[in-house]
Symmetry: C2
């Protein structure tokens, strides 16, 4: 029983990392679609999101089956419940990548973002791609230093998110259309939430390794 | 053991309903704060959100303790895992109410919403309050007809959310300031997400009662 459980748990961990790689690909393509008005890439992200959803369903069913069949306690139980939570966060990160791609698709053949905020969103894109890559690696390696890097990249996304408001509200510069203001507001929010979910996954990994949970959102 | 489990499960159900009543109160006050520029009410919602977070932590710990100590299977296991999921949705609904209150607080003493969209947001407010009341009742009574009402109110919130874009982008009428456009965009999104989470709770109740899950998001 113990061997089966250990093997199943290892498989869950590998599949979470694989799910995270799908999220990496989604956010990287979504950002490129947004910045370059690349319709084909946007449509790929939108079409592929169901794959991430399917992985979440599969992981969840396996977690529940593990709970039922192996009846884990203590640290083992914590790992299975954490896997349930992490798959929910990764699924949501996939949704947010899809939302970014949807904005790109809606504005095609135009670029959704006007030139003055392009650099800002390129930085958000880079930050979000880094978060997703770091999430994959922390899931694979349990390297807690990377968890710190995710927190820092999330802080950067929060700072950049605040700058989107400055850009939208700022005096001077060419005035934005209401549509541009809406798109900047929503895309900024999507990237900010993407970082939050990345941090949430990282904190669960830290908790599983150290027993410390880094914020006040509870222990599982 | 069985009696203890049944009693614990009943207590979990009651506490989820109590948590939902806190969310009801939060969204009702947040919407009034937004529509009336009521600073005190906004600050109450913001300050009280930690109570909802604390209930989530407590519920989660009890769910995990139940899994460890009672090792439920089949329908019992499904109920405990569903409780974990429902408390996460309710916690998120509390966050969204807080976000609405934060917009009200940031714009005080002004009203965040300009007059032309006041009626639209009053309808969103009414819809969100209804969703939260229906969620409480469905948790208390397991009345599946109410689950249908939640789906319909969520559809209404989606329709109203689409109308916020029309209002922001529409020709004619007084032009909005960029800040108003941002606030309308974000508040519309908060209400739309609030409805989604309400539906998520309702579908889990339906699933627990009937075994049918109403969308493709998996079974637990």
């Amino acid at each position: 029983m113990r061997d089966i459980f250990t093997a199943e748990l290892a498989a869950l961990g590998e599949d979470l990392a694989a799910m995270s790689r799908l999220v990496e690909s989604a956010i990287a393509s979504a950002g490129t679609a947004l910045l370059e008005a690349d319709l084909a890439l946007a449509e790929t992200v939108i079409a592929d999101d169901h794959t991430i959803d399917a992985v979440e369903r599969d992981l969840d069913e396996r977690c529940v089956a593990l709970l039922a069949q192996q009846q884990p306690v203590a640290g083992d139980l914590r790992q299975v419940v954490s896997a349930l939570r992490m798959s929910a966060s990764l699924e949501r990160m996939g949704d947010l990548a899809r939302h970014v791609a949807e904005v790109a698709r809606l504005r095609y053949p135009d670029k959704a973002l006007p030139e003055p905020v392009t650099d800002l969103f390129r930085q958000m894109h880079d930050g979000a791609v880094r978060v997703s890559q770091e999430v994959t690696t922390v899931l694979e390696t349990k390297d807690l230093e990377l968890a710190g890097a995710i927190e820092r990249d999330d802080d950067l996304l929060d700072t950049l998110h605040a700058q989107t408001f400055t850009a939208v509200l700022g005096e001077g510069g060419a005035p934005l259309t209401p549509q541009q203001t809406v798109d900047i507001t929503l895309c900024g929010r999507y990237y900010e939430r993407f970082g939050d979910h990345g941090v949430s996954v990282a904190r669960r990994v830290v908790y599983l390794v150290t027993g410390d949970f880094a914020d006040d959102r509870g222990t599982l």
